[in-house]
């Protein structure tokens, strides 16, 4: 997996000859795609993450996004574990960009110390 990620990181940052100008990522559209393409099913509607140990861990937290876009693209195309693969046929790069923009737009939660029920 580390190899895959490294390759993806290398190539994803190199513009290809003849590639059309990249449209600015659209967070609003990304929010719709995030739901329509089922990301929310494991990662939650705000990317807060899903289940954790001891039973059936899956769907790690995605937002606010810390993972580089290139790493996200690489993982979406060739995931491991329980996540199914999304090929370019069903999820174009532009859609991933928009989803990433949405994940970046999700605000950080309030500090735990400011939530009485969590103290």
């Amino acid at each position: 997996m580390k190899t895959l990620l490294a390759i993806a990181l290398t190539f994803a940052s190199v513009p290809l000859a003849g590639q059309s100008p990249v449209k600015a990522a659209d967070a609003e559209n990304g929010k719709k795609l995030y739901v329509a393409d089922g990301c929310y099913q494991c990662h939650g509607r705000q990317g807060q993450g899903g289940s954790s140990a001891p039973v059936g861990s899956y769907g790690p937290r995605l937002a606010p996004a810390k993972l580089p876009l290139e790493a996200l693209r690489a993982y979406v195309r060739h995931p491991s574990g329980g996540m199914p693969p999304y090929t370019a046929k069903v999820l174009p790069d532009a859609a991933i960009d928009d989803i990433y923009a949405f994940l970046k737009s999700v605000p950080a939660p309030p500090p735990v110390k400011d939530i009485p029920l969590l103290n």
Partner: protein
């Protein structure tokens, strides 16, 4: 065998008597008509031979004596003609007390109520069902109980003697071998042909059901036996119930395991379907503290206090990967514990650890073949085919015998390294819970936090699955410190278990005055929502909080995986997997069943007051349902 002889005589004389009566009447009627008697004369003159039409002492009364001797508090059943005599004897002869008849709307609910009841009370529930239509309804719940090693005492009404079936429905509801339907996932069954055999088999079935590994048992109660007159009958006795000691590990194997534990540098204990009693939890704590070994509690039972410094369940993956010895205590899926199985298109798995593996489990003692609940085979370095709870005391003693001052110092040093990890796990859980804190739909972490805030000072019991469906949030955030704090899962991963199991657990908690809460998934409730009526009808106090994600969410994810693997996108994965259009109004559903229904709650800020109202009502002895629209998991 005088009792068998007696019963044969009884049965034969009953049949011949009935046949004689019928023949006499058949002969008398044409004779009377031939004599030209008027209708009024016929009605005022007694027939030549009077048909036996009543008995003050049916065989069913003796069956109730048997049930009372076994100490059943309740019988859960949907009424059925095949056991009508037994039901009548419960409510009249037995006074509807011990057992008290609990009216269920579905046989799956009856058995699942028994499932949840046992996991709190430690006693099996008595269940009545038709041998045919009832048992078919019940069968999924029987499978769940079997997989979860929970005893349920099931009595099937049947009418084996074709000569006494009175109607077409009697034929539809009769079966040669009633228990065959569930024999693959029950521990014992019998079809007694006499009342004496019924008594003996009932006592035997109870003992077998309760001897670890526990599982459901089935007795067929023939309708003819239950209706036969036992007036003046002597010699019917009920054998004394005796309990067998559960199978414990042999001393040599236990000593070998103790030596492995003493010598291991990075051991881990994994507790599966282990603890049935407070004593078992205490022994596991003692063993862990002696060795300063981290414990991973799978959540299948309430095995180990989740805030104990050695409960490192939240670090289970790292512990497994770094262990040099893994001791599984009643672990069902050992292979899945120590291997990483890919969910990708092509099957692959790889070991997670090079640790030595040891197991104490009675699982193989109940091995069946057809249903594959026994999981993938995992080679083990030491495999003790014994009951974990029964073996733990001797394992503790064996470890104590091998303890030296040097070892004790080494273990204390190991414990010091582990100290603080539990607190870190809890801190991380709280941080994780803060994400999507104000989200709408409401996050499950927020729901669980709001609920915890209002029950933590009560004597509470979480009577619902505490793992996957709720992303483990209760286990991560709450303080589970007693055996009845949660009741584990369904066993067979069969839907329809949750709601009735919670009602059964609440029934058991009622006399203890415990506050029972159920985080109820929507898809599960819709299998047989009539159990809400059962809770209302019998005044069973229970707070049900709907985890209403408006989907069969696990299946939605499964279809998503398939669609992705087929390279088709997932925009149609909702077809057949969501529960919307229209949305179900669970509060109104609850109200229609006669209980308080609150909601739907869609804003997290509205949760606290709703839960407060709900708890106030539950404390008055009534069930309440609060519908909360939630995130998927």
């Amino acid at each position: 065998m005088p009792e068998n002889k007696d019963s044969q005589v009884d049965r034969r004389s009953f049949l011949s008597g009935a046949a004689t009566s019928a023949a006499a009447i058949a002969a008398a009627v044409p004779a009377a008509l031939a004599a030209g008697q008027s209708q009024s004369q016929k009605e005022t003159e007694p027939p030549a031979k009077v048909e036996v039409q009543t008995t003050d002492r049916p065989g069913a009364d003796f069956m109730i004596d048997v049930f009372k001797s076994l100490g059943f508090d309740y019988v859960c059943a949907n009424p059925g003609s095949a056991f009508r005599s037994i039901q009548e004897s419960v409510i009249n002869y037995g006074g509807n007390s011990k057992p008290e008849f609990i009216t269920c709307c579905h046989e799956e609910s009856s058995v699942a109520m028994g499932h949840g009841y046992f996991k709190v009370e430690g006693k099996p529930m008595l269940v009545f069902a038709h041998g045919t239509v009832g048992l078919q309804h019940a069968s999924m719940a029987v499978y769940n109980a079997f997989c979860d090693r929970v005893p349920v005492f099931i009595v099937l009404g049947n009418n084996l003697n074709a000569a006494t079936r009175r109607s077409a429905v009697d034929w539809l509801h009769s079966v040669q071998d009633a228990a065959a339907l569930v024999r693959d996932f029950t521990k014992f069954d019998d079809s007694p042909v006499s009342l004496a055999q019924f008594a003996e088999s009932s006592v035997r079935a109870y003992k077998i059901a309760m001897t670890a590994p526990s599982a459901p048992v089935v007795l067929t109660a023939d309708a003819e036996l239950s209706e036969i007159s036992i007036t003046g009958r002597t010699g019917l006795t009920i054998p004394k119930l005796g309990f067998a000691a559960p199978p414990a590990g042999d001393s040599a194997s236990v000593a070998a395991l103790a030596a492995m534990l003493i010598e291991a540098q990075t051991p881990v204990i994994v507790a599966g379907r282990l603890a049935r009693t407070q004593g078992c939890m205490a022994h596991l704590v003692e063993l862990a503290e002696l060795l300063q070994v981290p414990v991973v509690d799978s959540g299948a039972r309430m095995n180990f206090p989740n805030r104990h410094p050695l409960n490192l369940s939240g670090n289970s993956r790292a512990l497994i990967e770094n262990a040099d010895l893994i001791l599984g205590l009643e672990v069902t899926d050992f292979y899945g514990l120590v291997n990483n199985i890919s969910r990708q298109l092509e099957y692959s798995s790889r070991p997670l650890t090079k640790a030595k593996l040891a197991s104490i489990s009675a699982g193989d003692r109940l091995a069946k073949s057809n249903f594959q609940e026994f999981q993938r085979y995992q080679p083990l370095d030491l495999d003790i085919a014994a009951d974990g709870e029964a073996t733990l005391p001797s394992l503790v003693e064996a470890v104590q015998r091998l303890m030296t001052p040097d070892k004790k110092r080494a273990f204390q040093a190991r414990g010091a390294k582990l100290a603080g990890q539990q607190a870190s796990i809890l801190a991380k859980a709280r941080t994780d819970a803060s994400y999507a804190w104000d989200a709408c739909p409401i996050s499950v972490a927020r729901l669980c936090s709001e609920l915890w805030a209002q029950i933590k000072n009560e004597d509470w019991c979480l009577a619902s699955q505490s793992g996957t469906f709720v992303s483990n949030w209760p286990l991560r955030l709450w303080d589970f410190d007693r055996p009845y704090r949660h009741i584990g899962g369904s066993g067979g991963a069969g839907m329809g278990y949750g709601a009735p199991a919670a009602v059964g657990a609440a029934l058991a908690n009622k006399k203890h005055g415990r506050l029972t809460v159920n985080i109820q998934t929507d898809g599960d409730l819709m299998y047989a929502p009539g159990v809400l009526w059962t809770a209302a009808h019998h005044r069973i106090p229970l707070l049900t909080i709907m985890h209403n994600n408006r989907a069969y969410h696990q299946e939605l994810m499964e279809v998503q995986i398939a669609a992705n693997q087929h390279n088709r996108g997932i925009d149609r994965a909702h077809i057949g997997t969501t529960i919307d259009d229209p949305n179900i109004d669970y509060a109104k559903l609850a109200q229609s069943m006669g209980m308080m229904g609150i909601g739907p709650i869609e804003q997290p800020g509205d949760l606290a007051s709703a839960i407060r109202r709900g708890i106030e009502t539950v404390k008055r002895g009534e069930p309440v349902l609060i519908d909360v629209v939630t995130q998927p998991r």
